[in-house]
Symmetry: D3
Subunit: 266 residues, 6 copies
């Protein structure tokens, strides 16, 4: 059990989930976001922070044993948005970890780091990066930065290429990409309790029938997802019709991110 | 749900199975064979057809949304037999599909397309073709033809390299190659309802303990077999003794097809 | 040195080349084609033959030690054309070889057996077949037939996926696919004199600067091409402009074969 | 069912397990060790033997249908110890099998044959050998010897790279390497009853959550482990703390064997 | 021949080389740098530009047919330096290219994008990125950005992972990593004249005896280096002694970049 | 330049070659064999030694900077012969090196460590070991021992799987396996002068037209063979006829070693 586990992006969807579910992993959860957060409860510290502010991030990380780095923009945006939150912000987090001696980090990457692989392509942790958006490029950047900090400075990271982490799948694509909140929590538990983490790339998806990703290189972590999006198929079929078979949002693993155009800077 | 699903080879073993079990997938099942068939029931059309007759096949395919192409010779035969039913017949089906605008086909290929791989060789969809018979050569031909029609004309095909689809395994080899009728039906359902089919090679075998084939490249279809031939092992042990360990029918995946000689033309 | 070497398709471009250049490899060259041929010279036999005529092919093959099987249609055609010359014809040649005890064959396959791989894709002998035309499908068929006759009947074959064998490259694509006549002759010499042939897939291209194909699996044959299409680049640049970068004839290895539509049967 | 199954190393831990659990596989279990053994029970023969004594081993093997070769030193030792029991002893067993016509052997290899792969490295049967000790080198030697006797003399062997076969895991590393006695017995049953064994390399580990090894190349044997070390995790957590994340005994698959120094000869 | 070819970083070492040697490739060379440059000569335009200034970059790129993007910091630096020149600067170049319709770019990446692979590791274009510095991370970022602009917007890029491009090798490591100026110029010529560029990753090294990188996936470009660093070995031996065999600068491909620590921001 | 380079097996064929050709690599060549050797010349020490005698080997190795370990039996023999010279002898050499602090060794392995791969199989350093003889098994053992001493004790080794090192090829198989003495000497020079050796597996064959082995993983050593057995083909053709195409000595890379039976112990 850790003394203090930092969660960045704590006000977001995944952050809210983690805040509610990870209390057992540390004496104190340090919760941080640039957006408003609920006041600290028992075993919590609430530390507002803009990840683009290096000094603030260094203060934030000081005294923590582990980091669940969820912070930053999580959808396509303008370059300026991506740059500040994801490129500068992630650098600040890793550099602060190096200085503060934090040795274990979960970096919330995304399937959009590999979203231009086609749906028919079975990929594993060794597949070439193939981002589908500026957002995806920033996630590739974070993965490579984490690898540098592992190779050079001995900081262990689990890169989790999160599929679609919601209470239930919202469209047909998510029947393949869905990561149940329970499976995500179990994965986080493994990452912070396994004897050795090293540098691992994990596809964050439940044990769905439809499956594009192969996690064999991460099996040493001991995580086997238990949930299956298939139970939601009939419900989804009643709610919507998926796009045509040749639509870019269907052909590519990244879905609509691969289909959308450029977001102009203001 | 499709309007009209064509099943070729409807009078054969697999065809009879499909006729009985696929009614829910289309308003109308169009059933075709060169052999006699039972009269059409509700939701059925019975259309006798020799697949070697191009004009007849074009008429047969017209108006269909999908094709389960089971027709043709399904065991080793003389070249003349193979040529007419499997080589000319399959060409006629694909060419008719192109003209009629049919976009989704299940092509019943066979494990005999790869039957000269040894039993100790784990193969997946990328393994080189290695036919064990003229019949196997014709199945390789059909797979390559389907790929051409996919790459050039945009017709999606699931090539199913069927193992041994019977109510239960008939010999010890089938403990590895058995495809339960239920698993086959579930596979067909996936093929015609998945958002995107593309060009997929699927090994048609249930979730048997003994296993030579790896379907990871087809996992995007969402098919996971549920049955297991192992439950029949004791019964088979009581009925027969398998051939010697070094017999060609044991050494090669194709079993007796790899061991049998040439079938002379008349 | 062989007693009698059969060359099918002897009236065609490659056949003419072989007739002129392979005399030293056998006491007698038996030359065959369905088209007219020049009268037999010293050390030659001229045997007209339609490859679709099984009995004639059996007579043709009888008494030969090796076969250079060039016969059949060598460009896209209607299915009827392809069927007769390439599918039936090649079967007749292999079946005749089996009966006559011929143990070594060069099968002139084509790059069009793999022509739908993109130009950026480096492929070797293990790459999946990906035909770009009905012609390409027939070449895949011949390769698989040859493999069956090797695995089951012990006949050795060198499958040569010929690029573009002409005195010099005719367009920019051939700067990558060109096989000089000299290199082709040297390859044939290797195939019929190597201690062991087995079943080999060889890409028939010279040592060109641009290169899509990797022949490492055939290096045991001892063939290293010596010519290089690059010397013709300046001349070609002066003669023509290649198609646009995104044209299908440029994107795919098969060139115009991948771009052309279907040839209707009459 | 075999007439006589030989178990070497029958007095050791695995040998005792096999003696108690394999009686149903043969009319007679022939039990051998250089150490004292309990007297023979029903269906048992007790034959003391020093595996380094060639003549004694030949007598021991004569009349057997199969061999479970567990004998020899099973931990790191001096070179003299390893040499006699594992290098000379295993040669004697294989050479005796060749002369006596025994065609099926289980060779108890060890994960220490590959123990210098890191924990993050997913390996299968094709991974390079990477021994972590003189003991591990002797197991590599035995595997290669068995392969020679397979390739040259037609003796089939299942090389089982045993993880940690105990009633329950004894430390955190064994949460990944544990092979339950039940799973081991089921594996032995498969090895001696499968229609064809050939030469198989099997990682001997149960279906544990943490997993470094991939048994896909051995799936043709039909063995799927059923137990899972995970049920012992909480108990282990209460008993001990694993070594630091960067300790060699954690970084490498071989655990403490990779961390220990050289054992001096006396 | 292009109308206008833009060279960024024109005042640097590689830029000076290109300025002197690429005049024959375009009617006009547009030369740009944030540092001082020599006045424009015949067929030249000199356009000072800070790559971090988006509007200036857009003006710079307008009207060009191709870009040799050498600009940015080319050694390890502080994050602020890397961020401005390499991360923001490269984005500006690609975004300007998209808007201006430039379809072909050479992106000067670096071996430091993969510098944490060990010297004994043979890598090709599919090897995982493994940066050895913040500089290396920025090059990985540029490669991924280029891939996005290729996959989504159809801009072709040759990523050149330059080894050590100097008149001659400066230390023993460069005997493996040296890229002769002549070979670099020949590579640039290929990149801008090949019929199809697509997205290519090329290791920029001459035909040196010592070799860590495999360019087979880029052979379709037709570039074969001709020079060989070996001719400088004796001279180097006389000048210096390489570091010890286990020094990080020797163990890792990135040399001293892999050995150097973090550059603090001011 | 080394102070003292030890050559074991100095009286044998390769040893004689090395004695004559490696004088420039060290102040002193220490020459050792169990057989008679010529008296020491300038810069030579002659130290008779039985490699099976541990104490003698330790004395032999003391004071050396490098070892060219050629000693031991180099053809198939009885197990007793192989055991003493190759298994015990090689252990003694490595253990002595560990104690004496020798950090760089050339271990003369053999193609017979992989001799049961077929001639049609292209193999590289990652190919599974597949010995063709007890001799081959002992070479696999030596390779694994060397890997242990590298991984655990930091001793670097170049494993050279020598093909056929003679002044010229003696039969047709050697047209593929020939290693010219000049190429061997150049390889040894590289091994002892390269900045970093690590653990390398090198196939010892010249740049022959026929080629079964791929040395790409050893390219970092900077060795490129220059000779070519092809120049001897005509001469060989005049002297002998190779065995039949299906003879085991032709089918397998190990040649006659794969075809010969067991050598009985006396």
């Amino acid at each position: 059990m850790m003394k203090r586990l930092l969660i960045t992006g704590a006000a977001g969807g995944l952050g809210t989930l983690c805040r509610a579910r990870l209390g057992h992993m540390a004496d104190t959860l340090r919760l941080s976001d640039v957006a408003d957060m609920d006041p600290a409860g028992d075993g919590e510290e609430v530390v507002p922070c803009d990840l683009a502010d290096a000094a603030a991030v260094h203060a934030l990380v000081e005294g923590c044993d582990g980091i669940v780095h969820l912070g930053g923009k999580s959808i396509e945006g303008t370059f300026a948005e991506i740059l500040n939150s994801n490129i500068i912000g992630t650098y600040n987090v890793y550099e602060a970890a190096r200085k503060a001696g934090v040795k274990r980090i979960l970096f919330a990457s995304s399937n959009h780091a590999i979203g231009f692989h086609t749906r028919e392509t079975r990929i594993d942790a060794l597949a070439p990066m193939r981002p589908d958006s500026l957002y995806g490029v920033s996630k590739c950047y974070g993965e490579n930065l984490a690898r540098l900090y592992h190779d050079k400075f001995g900081i262990d990271t689990a890169v989790v290429r999160i599929g679609s982490c919601f209470p239930e799948p919202k469209d047909h694509r998510m029947l393949a990409t869905w990561l149940s909140p329970d499976d995500f929590v179990r994965l986080i538990e493994r990452i912070f309790t396994t004897t050795r983490l090293g540098y691992a790339i994990v596809y964050g998806a439940s044990d769905n029938e439809e499956c594009w990703w192969d996690n064999r290189h991460a099996r040493y972590l001991g995580w086997r997802p238990e949930d299956n999006a298939e139970v939601f198929r009939t419900k989804l079929d009643g709610l919507m019709t998926p796009p045509d078979s040749d639509h870019p949002a269907v052909r590519f693993q990244g879905g609509s991110f691969a289909a959308v155009g450029h977001f102009e800077d203001d």
